[in-house]
């Protein structure tokens, strides 16, 4: 890998060198490095682009890194990654995509990640998106995450898109079995003329299942964001979604929540708050000696931390 690719890798996966545990690194449309362990296997798909990650039942305290980097301008790819997580597992999965585009053609990575999680398992899934390069070509990412959470299992998902992605449409679908739980924390910052759409569709099918979707976003310059969330409570369950947005300059954010209770014992809540940075927050930090610009940066950094 060249320096640009190494930098992208560090941004999206925090990797300075090859990680321990299982990993698959994809660069410019090809798998360039792979490692498996006794409990985690990674197999290339034969019918389409992508890999199957198979995590054996009882795998504990192991991690899988599957970052993708694109540094070739004009490259477009569609990748399918399927995660089969057995019963009684406790694993961390780090994905992420970095695009460096210094050319005039659009570079685009679309990925569909499907999770099939067994019983009594805990999966922490971390996904970061990052773009760099000063070409006219756009950096486009459209990730789709499809999750089936088994009985008594817990999916913890953290997604971050802070810089450089011109256009993104993110779709997350989840189906939960009895006593299954999902917590999603999403952080997005858009600037320039970027556009980001994030959509959640959660079916709380199981008795005692729960979902908590927390989105924090900052839109600057002329950028636009759209937050959609749909939670269906189909059993005795608890669902909560929260969209908290800061708008600056000429940016626009829309939040469209939808909660449907199909069961008398479904408890569903949606909260959304969009607005500019509160003036008294800036004033407070200025009384501590920060300039207005420093105060603003501190508030935004804290908000997305």
């Amino acid at each position: 890998m060249d320096e640009i690719q190494k930098n992208l890798l560090e941004q999206v996966a925090g990797l300075h060198e090859m990680p321990s545990g299982a990993y698959n690194i994809r660069a410019n449309g090809q798998s360039v490095e792979r490692s498996t362990t006794a409990h985690i296997d990674i197999v290339t798909k034969t019918d389409k682009q992508g890999i199957d990650i198979v995590i054996k039942p009882g795998t504990k305290k192991e991690s899988v890194h599957i970052p993708v980097v694109l540094s070739q301008s004009g490259l477009t790819e569609m990748v399918y990654n399927d995660f089969h997580v057995g019963d009684d597992c406790d694993v961390t999965i780090v994905a992420g995509c970095g695009i460096h585009n210094s050319g005039d053609s659009d570079s685009r990575h679309d990925g569909i990640h499907s999770f099939y999680i067994g019983r009594n398992s805990h999966v922490k899934y971390v996904e970061k998106h990052y773009g760099s390069g000063d070409g006219k070509g756009e950096r486009i990412m459209n990730p789709e995450t499809v999750v089936e959470v088994g009985e008594n299992s817990f999916m913890e998902m953290e997604t971050v898109q802070i810089k450089g992605v011109d256009s993104t449409r993110r779709l997350t679908k989840a189906k939960l079995a009895d006593n299954a739980k999902i917590v999603v924390t999403e952080k997005i910052m858009t600037h320039g003329s970027q556009f980001a759409e994030t959509s959640f569709q959660v079916d709380l099918d199981g008795e005692g299942s729960s979902a908590n979707i927390i989105s924090r976003s900052v839109a600057r310059d002329d950028s636009r964001q759209l937050f959609l969330s749909r939670i269906n409570g189909n059993n005795r369950c608890a669902g909560h979604s929260e969209c908290d947005g800061i708008i600056m300059d000429n940016a626009k954010i829309s939040a469209i929540p939808e909660i449907t209770a199909n069961d008398l014992d479904a408890a569903l809540v949606h909260e959304a708050a969009i607005g500019k940075i509160a003036g008294d927050q800036i004033i407070k930090l200025m009384t501590l000696g920060l300039t207005e610009a420093e105060a603003e940066a501190q508030i935004v950094n804290g908000f997305l931390k």
Partner: protein, 241 residues
């Protein structure tokens, strides 16, 4: 030394046109003094505090701080010059922790060993609070104490507190009195405290009574406080307003 010269502050009022909140006020605050400003609600006390910090700009007049005309300086410039301010209603943030705010206040590293001391001084156990977000999860009283801790942490030549007692429970109030006494005893800071509380007025060197935007009285605590304690009906300072 802080000097207010012919200070006036007007706002537009839909009903009456211009409304004068502060009326041609002339006051001097000596260094290392502890001055309590009191008076009826709506008398202009909080506005005066904001004018000193630069949160509001006066319509006329001048503010001189240690010989420098700060009238047209912004909040940041005044803060850097050595004025700090505790809000009557502290601000909440999302994602900023108690540790972050106090670190910003001391303007130094996060490992400053004194961060815990500042919290202890306001009656908060540092271990329980240092990593808490300054958001709706904190009660009004807790926020207020953290607010006061940020001002103690700044350790500036002049500290202005806008009704520090508001929202604080009785137990913490004793603590607060002790904080002001210690600050004053160190004689390194000048304190201007807006307050209605007898116990705060009782530890001040001087009391300024402000009503209807004008100076009603100013003098040594021994002279002013007994008059104030007669009650608003018979108090000659309040009757003037």
């Amino acid at each position: 030394m802080l000097e207010l010269q012919n200070l006036s502050f007007q706002v537009s009022d839909e009903a009456d046109g211009q409304k004068e909140i502060i009326k041609n006020l002339n006051l001097t605050f000596e260094d290392h003094s502890f001055i309590a400003i009191t008076g009826p609600n709506g008398g202009g006390k909080s506005t005066l505090a904001k004018l000193i910090m630069g949160i509001e700009q006066p319509t006329w007049g001048k503010i001189i701080f240690d010989g420098t005309d700060i009238t047209h300086m912004n909040i940041t410039e005044r803060a850097k010059l050595g004025i700090s301010f505790a809000f009557q209603q502290p601000v909440r943030f999302k994602g900023i922790k108690v540790r972050d705010l106090i670190t910003l206040a001391v303007g130094g590293s996060k490992n400053n060993p004194n961060i815990c001391d500042y919290l202890s001084k306001v009656g908060l156990c540092a271990r329980d609070y240092i990593n808490r977000d300054i958001d709706a999860s904190l009660s009004g009283g807790e926020l207020k104490r953290i607010e006061i801790a940020t001002v103690i942490a700044r350790d500036t030549p002049l500290a202005v507190f806008d009704e520090p007692e508001a929202g604080i429970d009785l137990w913490s109030f004793n603590n607060l009195i002790q904080v002001f006494e210690e600050l004053h005893a160190s004689r390194s800071n000048s304190l201007i405290i807006i307050s209605h509380q007898e116990r705060i007025l009782n530890i001040a060197d001087e009391i300024v009574v402000l009503a209807d935007g004008s100076l009603q009285a100013r003098g040594r605590r021994e002279d002013i406080l007994p008059e104030l304690l007669k009650g608003t009906e018979s108090c000659r300072f309040y009757q003037k307003a």
